[in-house]
Symmetry: D3
Subunit: 160 residues, 6 copies
């Protein structure tokens, strides 16, 4: 059985040594949703036609959040993202905002955490901007969809 | 119908004026879960008996993340948290780590975003520390449980 | 003649003691412009009708930048902004984007630097987003328009 | 006509993919000025002979600010600067502080934003340190002077 | 015997609740030294007569570092410093740079950590700037000298 | 005699140009201690058997602090750490917590400052968590033990 690599032989947490790994192209895609009342979703949609664009602001927040992943996650290596894009869209039934993030780098560690952090910060931003009208929103299904590159190779989530 | 307060009359995003609000005691409680394989949960539990403590590290990450909420969420006001605690615990069936955060301040805006950010960063940290053994973990049910203080008064989520 | 207050009797820089000052409502308004080619301005305007909104993104960047003023400016006191709004608009002749920021707090120091930082970061963001088509853009006339509150009282720039 | 590259086909903002670009040596030089009253400039000059050195502190602030460019500018890639220097000098007629920044890296994106951010933060710091004696200072002419490296090659501003 | 207050009844770390404490004026003074070769100290002293001022730069770094204390120290409350000053001076025998920091706020928690962080970051900056000529420098005697304000009242270190 | 490289010909501070240096594997090891009362050390040791683990939290703080070195130290280059580990242990006589940090990267500058910053932040965190029971703790002997890689080659401190 494989081990939790963030701990050394003595069980002490450390930032794993990746100095011996090659710099390869690495990609990760993550997704998540925030569920809300139909009325709340309507207000987001209306705003999209004006300058006050909830999804546009959430996209920017997600991109900026992804750049700070290694400051937030204790044992994450700092890396230089080469690409990041977020897709946010309204879904009618059930009413929700769906978010998918794609992160890429050329480096010695993967970018799963950057993709997941982008999703989380974007969805939190949707919550913040809509909480005055709907405090009961719920963030669900935040997960990695796939990754490629690196020693551990490609990985894809099972269809659910 | 109430409006999305983060936009002004012209639909432009702004940081809402709270200068006229009173400084009151404000509290928010949020929760969330990360689902995983039973085997992964076992490894977290074993670590808890040693120094390499996944839940302990996630707790610290959540606390530190909450302090940076206003840096991550574009229209969030900077506030001085007076209290923050996170409860993280392993759940057997279905296998998951549950996280609940309680944030408090004395100020002019609420601390819902701080409590939610604490939960998100803590759960992301669990993902990071276990992803070498389980990439299919899924974060679910991140939501506000209750809040009190401020003009909008008390609020509690419905039992689900 | 008044003195540079950021230096003590021995000429050493320090963060000025404001502990004896009252918490009052403080306001500052700043402005600035970025000049560009007419063609560049046209592209910004076209984007405003789509989701890719240069001015909307610059506004968010300015708001987030203002929250980090005390991290950027060495002797600035950390303060809790209670209000921040940015107005960005396209100007035809000469072709430019104009930015005005209004910052407010209730505290012991003024918010002039927060308003100016908001303007600077917003205009830099416009530069960043348009630099692929126009490297010769120029930021001009960044200045304080007025301030109120605090011991030094109200101040307004002369009309120029 | 070239396009605003920070938006994709659907007009959504993203961090442009630079993963396919080569790592080359990249240089950017930017400049700007802050205009002030002659009296204010005199006080800065006097301080330069003592430990309380406005220009020295502004230089440090500009260098530190440049390192945070990708945190401030939403769609900027994080890069590792290999060199940064700022030249700040007092100019008599009209009375002003002139700032020029030179930034270098070896990477996949240019350093124009880093050079411009260094200038802006340095000039804002001059404003902060002198605002107690002169609130009417004005930042002008912040622009890129030249850049080299990368696919878009060399560029120099026209003499004005 | 008093207890480590950063842990709750179950031994879990948390950010202590200070919401019930009064806002009082709080002061802390800390000190520390960096020992070095006499030759290194000479170079620092010579620089002090020119613009390249090691102690001046270390002072700015210490002030800026103190503002980020709550980002660095996991369970530290974010506070708004109202005053911060650092005194750095060269000592001949044994050759060293001495640093003393004084931090003040009006708040619900003390500023001991801010004063200590200011000293640490200032001394690290001296190390950084001189390490090319002297890698064997040693930081010693970093400690709190005195504090006042708050429920625990005044405290002063014993003379040593 | 070698010179302080952080200053140019005119004595102005700059971030040294490392663009011409090779990317090599670089390593630095640093150490330090915090002295305390025997009683305080006992409380730390007892906590180690529970979830409230002072040394575990200090280790995380040190790792996270090291990632922010270039934000704290003005003329430090931003680098991507490839490995970081901290060893913290209780010492009985005299009562103290000893900390040793090992940092590695593959880059154009060394990681001495990262190793030293890790030690300092870890020891400050111990201070913070124990200060309610012992304000007289003292941080001593923070120094570089050895470094390797880069043009200046290997270096080791003399045994003391």
């Amino acid at each position: 059985m494989s081990e939790l690599t963030h701990f050394d032989r003595n069980g002490q947490a450390h930032m794993v040594d990746v100095g011996g790994k090659d710099e390869t192209r690495r990609l990760a895609v993550a997704e998540g949703r925030i569920h809300m009342r139909a009325q709340t979703l309507d207000q987001i949609r209306q705003g999209g036609h004006r300058k006050g664009d909830v999804l546009g602001i959430a996209r920017i927040a997600g991109i900026m959040g992804a750049k700070r992943t290694s400051e937030l996650i204790p044992l994450c290596h700092p890396i230089g993202l080469t690409h990041l894009e977020l897709d946010l869209r309204a879904e009618a039934d059930p009413p929700a905002v769906y978010c998918r993030a794609r992160a890429e780098t050329r480096g010695r560690t993967g970018v799963e955490m950057e993709a997941l952090t982008a999703v989380q910060v974007a969805l939190l931003t949707v919550y913040d901007m809509c909480k005055a009208v709907d405090r009961g929103m719920r963030i669900d299904g935040v997960r990695l969809l796939r990754k490629s590159g690196g020693k551990s190779g490609d990985w894809g989530s099972e269809v659910t």
